[in-house]
C-alpha cells in the first residue's frame, strides 16, 4: 500500500480520532510517498483521547521527519507501551538515534522491537 496523496493520511486520521476504542495500530510495510501523509496519519496518537498502546511500523522508511514525529508521539502518548520498528529503513542513519534518546526521557515504552 502506498499513501501517495496527502488526503489519504488525513482521512485515516479522521477515522482514528473517532475510534477511541482502538488500542493497536499497525502501519507495517506502508510506503508514505507524500511526506505529510505519515504525520497526518499518526497525529491522532498525540490526542489525550487516543487509546493506542501498541504501534507497529515494520519495514517503513524512516527519515528525520518521521523520527521527529515519532519522538513527539513517544513523549506525549503515555499509554504507548509497545513499539515495533523492526526492518525499518533508516535512510539518514541518524533517525533512530533521535528515537532512542526519547526512551530515557519521558516515554513509557516497555516493549521494543528493532
Amino acid at each position: 500500500m502506498a499513501f501517495e496523496n496527502e488526503m489519504y493520511g488525513k482521512s485515516m486520521a479522521i477515522a482514528l480520532e473517532k475510534s477511541v476504542q482502538l488500542t493497536e495500530f499497525n502501519i507495517s510495510f506502508i510506503k508514505f510517498d507524500h511526506p505529510k501523509s505519515f504525520f497526518d496519519m499518526v497525529s491522532p496518537m498525540l490526542s489525550p483521547k487516543c487509546r493506542i498502546n501498541k504501534f507497529s511500523m515494520q519495514a517503513c522508511i524512516l527519515t528525520p521527519l518521521e523520527s521527529k514525529v515519532l519522538c513527539y508521539i513517544l513523549m506525549k502518548n503515555k499509554l504507548m507501551h509497545t513499539v515495533d520498528f523492526s526492518e525499518c529503513i533508516d535512510k539518514e542513519r541518524d533517525s533512530f538515534v533521535l528515537i532512542f534518546d526519547k526512551f530515557g526521557q519521558g516515554s513509557n515504552v516497555r516493549y521494543l522491537s528493532l
Binding site: 524512516l62 515495533d84 520498528f85 523492526s86 526492518e87 525499518c88 529503513i89 533508516d90 542513519r93 533512530f96 538515534v97 532512542f100 534518546d101 526512551f103 530515557g104 516515554s107 513509557n108 515504552v109 516497555r110 516493549y111 521494543l112 522491537s113 528493532l114
Partner: protein
C-alpha cells in the same frame, strides 16, 4: 540492520522503562555488539532480551558473561538462538549463569554446542537455582555431550523444561543420559524429537 546497536546500548544504559527488547533478525557486527553488552551492564529494567539470529559469536560472549554477572540484573528471559556460539562461548557464559539468580528461561537453539560446552552447562545447572526452562535444540550435541549433560539432573530441582531435540546423539549416549534422568527431581518436560538415532531399543526401554 538499520540502527546503531552501540547507540541503542547507550540509550538503554540509564533507561528504567524498557522491559522487553527484541533485536532478532539483525546482522550485528562483533565490535558494536560487544560495546552494546558493555553499555547495558548497569541496566536494571530489562526482563527479556531476544537476540536470536543476530550473528552473535564467541567474541561477544565475554561481555555477555559480564552482563549476566551483575548482581542487580533483573533479566528473566534470554534468547540467544540461531547464532554461532561454540563451546568456547558456552564456557564463558555458563559460569556467569551459574551464579545468576534472575534468569529463568534461556534459549540456545541452533548454535554450535558440543561436548565440552555440555560439561559447562551441566556444571552450571548443578548449582543454579533459577533456570526453569533450557532449550538446546538443533545444536551438535553428540554421545559424549548428552552423557555429560545428564550429570546435573540428580542435583537440580528447579529445571522443569529441557529441549535437546534435533541433536546428533544416538542410543548409546542417550542411554547414559536416561540413567541420570531417573534421578531427576524436577524435570517434567523433555523433548528429544527428531534426534539422529533414537529408536525404541535398549535406550528407550531404559528411559521408560
Amino acid at each position: 540492520m538499520n540502527f546503531s546497536i552501540t547507540k541503542l546500548g547507550i540509550a538503554l544504559a540509564e533507561n528504567t522503562k524498557i522491559e522487553t527488547l527484541n533485536i532478532s533478525n539483525n546482522r550485528i557486527k562483533t565490535q558494536p555488539f560487544t560495546a552494546f553488552f558493555a553499555a547495558i551492564k548497569n541496566n536494571k529494567s530489562l526482563r527479556k532480551i531476544n537476540a536470536s539470529k543476530t550473528d552473535l559469536s564467541d567474541k561477544v560472549c565475554e561481555k555477555i558473561a559480564d552482563f549476566l554477572s551483575m548482581e542487580e540484573l533483573r533479566l528473566h528471559e534470554f534468547d540467544l538462538s540461531k547464532n554461532q556460539i561454540t563451546d568456547v562461548g558456552f564456557k564463558l557464559i555458563m559460569p556467569a549463569i551459574q551464579k545468576n539468580r534472575s534468569i529463568e528461561h534461556i534459549n540456545f537453539d541452533q548454535n554450535q554446542l558440543k561436548a565440552s560446552g555440555c560439561e559447562a552447562i551441566s556444571a552450571c545447572l548443578e548449582e543454579n537455582k533459577s533456570i526453569v526452562e533450557l532449550s538446546l535444540s538443533g545444536n551438535k550435541i553428540n554421545n559424549d555431550g548428552i552423557a555429560l549433560l545428564g550429570q546435573f539432573l540428580k542435583n537440580n530441582e528447579t529445571l522443569f523444561y529441557l529441549d535437546i531435540s534435533k541433536n546428533p546423539f544416538t542410543d548409546q549416549g542417550f542411554s547414559i543420559f536416561a540413567e541420570h534422568f531417573g534421578e531427576s527431581a524436577g524435570l517434567v518436560y523433555l523433548d528429544i524429537q527428531k534426534t539422529k538415532d533414537i529408536s525404541d531399543d535398549q535406550s528407550l526401554i531404559q528411559f521408560a
